[in-house]
């Protein structure tokens, strides 16, 4: 993939749609909800989620948030599992190209709005950027408390003992906190919040992040937010502190030892390699290096 994407040749934005698909009343309603969400960091604000032209689970919540905060001069980046070129990312990017005519990019630094599923970009975010998460299950207490009335009350009264029951179970059965994604966090010392299914590797990036982080859950019709420079702590035990994933290998393509790696199966005989899940980060590092020197690809590919 080239680093900077040229607009897809669709002949510019579609006519017949309002800017960014949603009507202005709906966008106003969603913006009000976002303002409330930013004012109460980590609190799940209900909103009148609309039907979107894609199925629930494909990012309907994230799309509505993006549509509401998008302006004509914004630059949009969309990632799915860290990649800019997967179906979900491509579809959503093209959706906004066609309904809003905004510029799109794969460069994390250039984007003003980044809609994401499952990852936070490796490149540090800066002030002024908006990170929009697609959230399947916004309620971190759901696993233990199926009653919505009760879980709302637990949030209201900050009764979060049950969250540690979940971590306790992990340690009791696996000897360590085995939760690897959607790892519960406490935002601004108050609300326990689901960070959406990002790997816990990304949890520390949420802490004191200069960008605005908005979370949209389409099916559950909830929006919540983490304003810039907000404390975000991952829950843990004193004798089992929070830890992020580590790999013994480096990225087979760019050699990074600091990024989140995906294991890719390369053949039927057990061949596999580890590569960065953030494709833009990986491509940048490969481009910055002389093409000849790529010792990592052989090392990774020949692993048994």
């Amino acid at each position: 993939m080239s680093a900077a994407t040229a607009p897809v040749a669709t002949g510019g934005p579609e006519t017949g749609y309002n800017f960014a698909y949603l009507d202005e009343q709906t966008k106003r309603m969603i913006r009000r909800t976002i303002l409330k969400a930013v004012a109460i960091p980590g609190y799940q604000c209900p909103f009148g989620g609309r039907e979107m032209p894609l199925p629930y689970g494909w990012g309907t919540g994230g799309i509505q948030v993006t549509a509401s905060v998008l302006g004509a001069d914004d630059t949009l980046k969309v990632i799915d599992q860290g990649a800019d070129d997967t179906t979900n990312a491509v579809s959503i990017r093209r959706f906004f190209e066609r309904t809003a005519g905004v510029a799109t990019t794969e460069r994390t630094e250039e984007a003003t709005i980044i809609q994401t599923r499952h990852r936070i970009p490796e490149a540090p975010l800066r002030e002024g950027q908006v990170l929009v998460y697609q959230v399947p299950i916004p309620e971190p207490l759901r696993w233990l408390e199926p009653r919505e009335t009760e879980s709302r009350k637990m949030h209201a009264l900050a009764e979060y003992g049950a969250m540690h029951v979940r971590l306790y179970e992990d340690i009791a059965h696996h000897g360590q906190i085995a939760t690897a994604y959607d790892y519960p966090v406490k935002v601004n010392g108050r609300y326990v919040t689901a960070p959406s299914p990002i790997p816990k590797f990304d949890n520390p990036k949420m802490h004191m992040n200069p960008a605005i982080q908005l979370f949209g859950a389409g099916r559950e019709k909830r929006i919540y937010a983490i304003p810039p420079y907000t404390r975000v702590e991952s829950l843990d035990f004193e004798d089992h502190p929070f830890e992020v994933q580590r790999w013994d290998e480096v990225c087979a393509l760019c050699g990074s030892s600091e990024s989140y790696l995906d294991e890719v199966i390369t053949d039927d005989r057990g061949g596999h390699m580890f590569v960065c899940s953030d494709t833009y980060y990986c491509a940048e590092r490969q481009a910055a290096r002389p093409a000849a020197a790529a010792p990592w690809s052989e090392a990774g590919g020949s692993a048994k």
Partner: protein
Amino acid sequence: MSVDTQADAPLLEVQGLSKRFGAIQACRNISFDLWPGEVIGIVGESGSGKTTLLNCISARLAPDSGRVLYRTRHEGPADLNGMSEPARRMLMRTDWGFVHQDPREGLRMRVSAGANVGERLMALGARHYGNIRAEALDWLGMVEIDQTRVDDMPRTFSGGMLQRLQIARNLVTRPRLVFMDEPTGGLDVSVQARLLDLIRGLVADLGLSAVVVTHDLAVARMLSHRLMVMWRGSVVETGLTDQVLDDPHHPYTQLLVSSVLQP
């Protein structure tokens, strides 16, 4: 039976409590005091209002009229209905216990026995896994559950074990007052006997106060110091357990006592 007579004020005061469901008067003008270390039994037939009374005095249900005063550890007597909800819920999960007839209602069936016992500790801010687990193991031993079962799911437990697990889960925060709704219902007699022994031992060792609802007069005789007999929403007779059971005055109590089958 020894009642803690050093305490100079009742732990729980119920004053003129009434509760109505539509046309049905479930509880009618009920008053009683519960003293520290005392166990009160509430007996009566099905539908006599026992469970409604228990729910009202344990703040799970709001009474239509009357007051329930609980002597809190730090602030003295407080009206349960006038209390803020956070304070009430805090009370319910620290200073009180509630043992359901069906242990599945009081337990989290999808987490291990250890987590069930440890939950209240974590709710109170315990954040050291090792300590929580040690405490859970202690309590499993206390209620005679094999400590190797600490990581097993409650669904693999027998009915008697579930009930004992529920008791451990309630007692881990050292409550002062425990409400029990038919604690031995649905258990076979030998398991019942062991459970009753256990409850009696724990009540004596920990100096608990308890309100036990039961329709089984034998359970009432084993556990309670005092007895209240309910009939159609009213308390018709009250007194020391032996006195009520051996010399019943009210016609309904006489009927109740004479209805017990002798094997």
